[in-house]
């Protein structure tokens, strides 16, 4: 079946949506969105502890999204903006959900899936250990990251992550990550 982005996007818009975006992801956009959300969450969430946790996850997931988008080659079609990505922040019955989506090269799926599976199966103590290990031993990547984003979010949310990979074509898939607060 052909990947339908509009259908996909509406499937992500579940629960009570606080903010949803589909399109080009730039550094300026992320900065602006984080500023808008900071004020909005301040009004929306009375428990400061929850607000902080959600905001921390937002910073990490949006910056992760920006750094890890794989652009489709131009020739594919003109359907997608440059550096295309999706994010939806919503309120669920249990709490809050931060969902991001981006294209990923198929050859990156296996290592990412392995990393996610490993993180999901870890106890809080193991996550702490892994976090400190990467923090102490890893150098900066060329993107200015440290490969800590996923571990950090898992540590803050006790591993409450969901993910799915949807086939796009023989070279690319669409990656969706959900973090629950």
């Amino acid at each position: 079946m052909q990947f339908d982005i509009d259908q996909y996007y509406s499937s992500m818009n579940s629960g009570e949506v606080i903010l949803a975006y589909k399109g080009s992801i730039s550094s300026e956009l992320i900065t602006n969105v984080l500023e808008v959300l900071d004020a909005k969450l301040e009004d929306l969430i009375t428990q400061k502890r929850i607000k902080k946790k959600l905001y921390n996850v937002l910073v990490e997931s949006l910056q992760n999204l920006y750094h890890h988008i794989d652009d489709l080659p131009d020739k594919t079609d003109g359907k997608f903006d440059v550096h295309f990505g999706i994010f939806v922040i919503s309120q669920t019955q249990e709490g809050y959900k931060v969902s991001t989506g981006n294209f990923i090269q198929n050859d990156k799926i296996i290592p990412l899936r392995q990393k996610l599976e490993r993180i999901q199966s870890m106890s809080k103590e193991d996550l702490k250990r892994l976090y400190k290990d990467i923090l102490y031993n890893q150098d900066f990547t060329e993107k200015g990251g440290v490969g800590l984003g996923l571990v950090d979010m898992a540590k803050r949310t006790n591993g409450k992550l969901n993910y799915r990979f949807t086939d796009y074509n023989e070279d690319y898939s669409f990656f969706n990550l959900e973090v629950f607060i």
């Binding site: 984080l34 400190k132 923090l135 900066f140």
Partner: protein, 126 residues
């Protein structure tokens, strides 16, 4: 050597580095996408400071938010302070966290467990 004072923004913390008093202060938010650029002058200042440091160095870290990119730079700062301590100088780190902010307390404890400098966790009550 000169003191440094950097004003905070919505993405970067305010920083005060004072060689006379030996007080180093980092306060606010640290969430730039790429934190290396922001922290470079601070690391360089610490290298210079270590050549002729104050007998007592006090570091006050009071962050509301910081991202993983910054966490690495903060560790680099702490590693410099660890060397300073190893060279027989008094160094202490005050780690401030807001009441109920367990994540921030935990981050402080994570640093405390990997850096050989005495930490003091200080809770800020509204």
């Amino acid at each position: 050597m000169e003191s440094i004072s950097i004003e905070g923004t919505t993405k970067t913390p305010s920083v005060k580095l004072n060689p006379e008093s030996g007080v180093i202060e980092i306060k606010g938010r640290s969430i730039p996408e790429n934190s290396i650029e922001f922290y470079r002058p601070i690391i360089e200042w610490l290298d210079e400071y270590a050549k002729n440091p104050n007998k007592n160095t006090t570091v006050n870290v009071q962050l509301e938010y910081f991202n993983t990119s910054s966490s690495k730079c903060i560790l680099d700062i702490f590693k410099k302070l660890e060397s300073l301590k190893k060279a027989r100088n008094e160094v202490k780190i005050n780690w401030y966290y807001e009441e109920d902010d367990e994540d921030m307390l935990e981050s402080g404890e994570d640093y405390e467990s990997i850096i050989r400098v005495p930490f003091k966790m200080i809770e800020i009550v509204d």
